[in-house]
Symmetry: C2
Subunit: 166 residues, 2 copies
DNA sequence: CACAGTTTAATCGCGCACGATATACTCGCA
DNA sequence: TGCGAGTATATCGTGCGCGATTAAACTGTG
């Protein structure tokens, strides 16, 4: 498409970098607004899940957010410490920890009703454009996850260092 | 567009979440491949910049990656420790630290020539589709950054807690 | 020359995010 | 009944990423 050789490609032509930067920009937009109610961005995602359906297991939340227990556990403990959620071991199956909102956690919802709208406005895109972009990103995520899982670019074996050739 | 009320929106309809998840998927694809040559993803971005143009200041690199010195300094120190780059104070203006590749850092390039191609293949998208997506994400990033800068959703003042209304 | 203001990096503390590993529990099956 | 396999969560260490602050060096103006 362009005459760039492998290695001298400009970062601006990397899809991964565009995604990385857009994500940072979102974070920088959200962070100060969420900080006013004492939330971080991943915590807000958890709250959004619980607002739509209360009482879920750690694993359920983790699967939706693509996060494992080593990220979820401390995150949820901080949220418990902030009084937003409760963590209770299931009595029937003690491996499972159920997460549910406190009254304070439910109340927080009313203080953030305008946020999705503000973000939508800040994006400078129409609902249709946003929908298309979400679709493209979802497709990309599925493809990348599948490729990571099957190890498409695993390369040889004993050399274990080079990723040359396509 | 759909009848969802603010607050019960499914996460799958959040553009921020689609971006966040796609970024995670990229990271999960890159991380094991880069680990084989001892790089992390942000370090790979720095290397890519230096491969296309050697010897840049900390600030220059940070501006391109949208990272500040509090992220750059330790990252670059780790890369220096790994023998990939050198950090040298400018003799004329001692505030400035210039970053340049070592021979080892330059050599690493040849072990990653296939990576952009592998990522492109893993994306499951044509070059044209990727180009369009990069364009949309760049536009989004610019808009979000601008909105964050001007504080579009700053809300009132003394209450300092609610973000209600659009 | 002095001194305020600006620029450039560095430092500190906190919260993700993940690889590797550990622990506790449940289930199936001999 | 007891044991191995599988499941759900937790722990530990490392590396970003950022807000707040600090420190050092430069610049411009009187």
């Amino acid at each position: 498409m362009d005459g760039s050789k492998a290695g001298d490609a400009a970062l601006s032509e990397f899809l991964c970098f565009a995604t990385y930067s857009a994500n940072q920009a979102f974070h920088q937009f959200y962070a100060p607004l969420l900080a006013r109610v004492g939330l971080t961005y991943p915590q807000y995602l958890v709250m959004t899940l619980l607002w739509s359906q209360d009482t879920r297991t750690v694993g359920e939340i983790g699967r939706i957010l693509n996060l494992q227990s080593n990220t979820m556990t401390p995150l949820l403990k901080r949220m418990e410490g902030a009084g937003l959620i409760e963590r209770r071991r299931d009595t029937a199956d003690e491996r499972i920890v159920r997460i549910s909102l406190t009254a304070q956690g439910r109340a927080l919802r009313d203080r953030l009703t305008g946020l999705p709208g503000a973000v939508a406005a800040a994006s400078g895109m129409t609902a249709e454009e946003r929908g298309e972009l979400i679709g493209a990103l979802d497709r990309l995520r599925r493809n990348m996850t599948e490729a990571a899982r099957t190890g498409s670019a695993q390369g040889g074996g004993q050399d274990a260092g080079s990723i040359s050739g396509t």
